[in-house]
């Protein structure tokens, strides 16, 4: 089996045709994952036994003439803030290092039904809070393309696992760019679905009005194959919804207009390489016959402030449940209940988590609530209105995923604002609840990866896959 050139479709076809078994495929990927993990640190845990048992079961089902699922035998890596029944789920936090999940997240149930083989749980910034994957209690993840650089965060482990060839696909979660930024930095495809397209039941909530689970793949088609399995309404998540997905006419490029949000191409802060790569990408689409139109999202310049206020507020609320009584008891404190809370959270949470919980408590406190939280919610509305206006004129929007190429480990860890600015181009999408995909710019072999982002109209997730496959095919 030529593992390097395998994709989800060819791997599935290979298993069904009997060229190799799911067990053989899983064995290969496990060996690769185990060999590379000491260097890349993409996985917090690898479950060899369970993966091989699942693979064997799938082989037997196929041999017995059973129906092959859409992901049958495909080795996938799962971000460690998504619950798998009976497995440890740490969220990258010391506080949950011994927490065992009681049930499968809806996305996991769906992956299992589709025949996927779960390789293990991937590393992340603690509770998905970070842009570089340096905030994990289990150590930083290294970028497989250049191990002196960060893989991006917070789903850095999932992106690195796919980029390093240790899984054929992965799941991540995206609150402000946590799928798209690492995909861009590691040179793989990552997609954040429309808010509500994928059930959040069983993902540890960070900021509930922004979180969305999404796929990573080597190609757009691979990401789409995973997305197709995990999407859909779920009665366990009241914000999930089925929706008709329109498809723009990819076969008729002249009918498609791509919007270029000028604010996303600000000269300051963007490196030359990224600017050039974007120009090439825009020219590619233009020469295919698509129309290019500059649009303006004037309020997006406030997105960082709006996002951080709202996210801090939701984080402080969502993380209140980690109190040392439920989920885990890590500290041996018996004096008083209050002391258990304070010591468990003090010892269990890392610095970034503490910073966010504290500031969330601040923006929600009496006297500051309206000035910060309500104000941010209002500007959020303005940001969404800008997108609505732009989408009246164009079909999709195109921008860089990040203003810069992947930065070095340790480069931004001392300056939270500098770190937060890494997400400046991905955040507005979450605030508006839109779908977006990060696709590697072609022809960058031997260079640091650069990703471009396509943003779609709400519920038009499939437009992004259509556009992405079109880009990859030429």
């Amino acid at each position: 089996m030529d593992k390097k050139n395998l994709n989800i479709k060819s791997a599935r076809d290979g298993i069904i045709a009997g060229h190799f078994t799911a067990h053989e495929l899983t064995t290969e990927y496990l060996a690769e994952a185990e060999a590379k993990n000491s260097e890349i640190n993409a996985y917090i845990s690898i479950d060899r036994e369970k993966a091989l048992t699942t693979a064997k079961k799938i082989d037997k089902e196929i041999k017995d003439g059973g129906e092959a699922g859409p992901l049958c035998g495909i080795p996938l890596a799962i971000k460690d803030n998504i619950l798998i029944e009976g497995g440890i789920c740490t969220a990258g936090s010391k506080l949950l290092k011994n927490y065992t999940a009681s049930y499968d997240a809806t996305v996991i149930k769906k992956l299992k039904n589709a025949g996927a083989v779960v390789m293990g749980k991937t590393n992340l910034d603690e509770f998905a809070m970070g842009s570089s994957n340096e905030n994990s209690a289990f150590g930083a993840v290294k970028n497989p393309i250049d191990i002196e650089r960060v893989p991006g965060g917070s789903s850095g482990g999932s992106a690195a696992a796919v980029a390093a060839g240790t899984a054929l696909g992965a799941l991540g979660s995206d609150t402000g760019g946590s799928i798209r930024l690492p995909a861009g930095f590691c040179g793989v495809v990552g997609m954040k679905p429309t808010y509500g397209r994928v059930s959040r039941f069983g993902v540890m909530a960070m900021a509930s009005s922004l979180d969305q689970i999404g796929p990573f793949g080597k190609t757009v088609a691979d990401a789409e194959a995973i997305y197709t399995v995990i999407k859909g309404e779920d009665k366990m998540d009241a914000t999930s919804k089925d929706a008709t997905e329109s498809q723009i006419a990819i076969g008729n490029p002249g009918s498609i207009t791509i919007g270029i949000p000028k604010e996303f191409f600000a000269k300051e802060g963007m490196d030359k390489e990224t600017a050039e790569a974007m120009e090439e990408t825009i020219n590619f689409f233009r020469s295919s016959g698509m129309k290019i139109k500059e649009v303006s999202l004037p309020n997006s310049k406030y997105a960082l402030s709006v996002y951080y206020i709202i996210m801090f507020a939701e984080v402080s609320t969502n993380l209140a449940k980690f109190d040392g009584i439920r989920y885990s008891r890590t500290e041996d404190v018996t004096d008083s209940l209050l002391e258990i809370y304070i010591k468990t959270r003090g010892a269990g949470f890392g610095d970034e988590v503490k910073r966010r919980v504290l500031l969330g408590t601040f923006v929600l406190s009496a006297g500051y609530y309206d000035a910060y939280y309500t104000k941010a919610q209002k500007v959020r509305q303005l940001i969404r209105n800008d997108f609505t206006k732009a989408f009246a004129e164009v079909d999709v929007l195109l921008s860089p995923v990040s203003p810069t190429v992947p930065f070095k480990l340790g480069e931004k860890t001392d300056d939270p604002i500098k770190m937060y600015l890494s997400d400046i181009l991905t955040i507005p999408v979450n605030l508006a609840g839109l779908p977006a995909i990060s696709i590697p710019v072609k022809g960058r072999e031997g260079k640091l990866p650069i990703g471009f982002q396509l943003i779609g109209k709400r519920w038009h997730d499939s437009d992004l896959f259509g556009m992405g496959k079109f880009y990859e095919s030429l």
């Binding site: 009584i325 959270r345 500031l359 408590t361 601040f362 910060y372």
Partner: protein, 101 residues
Amino acid sequence: MAIAINKEDIQRLAELSRIDLQGKEEKLLIDAEKILGYFEELTQVDTDGISPMAGATNMVNIASADDVNEELVQKGIESFPESVKGCLKVPGVMRDIKQNG
């Protein structure tokens, strides 16, 4: 929203958030000042007549039936750090007044 946050505020927020800052108050204060200072830019935005956007969808709240999933209840109990005969065991909240004087 002029920000004036001091060491006492940080201490108070830590109490409210039930977090032991383990001596990192100083660094947190510096970061908080920077971050809250950055948020000042929102004062420039005219939001008169704009309604706050609380979620990413425009969906209307619905109530679902309160079905008890016994299996999940059981699993929840099993995964809880301590339990006794199907009841969750937690540290005491009340104290004997006499004992504490």
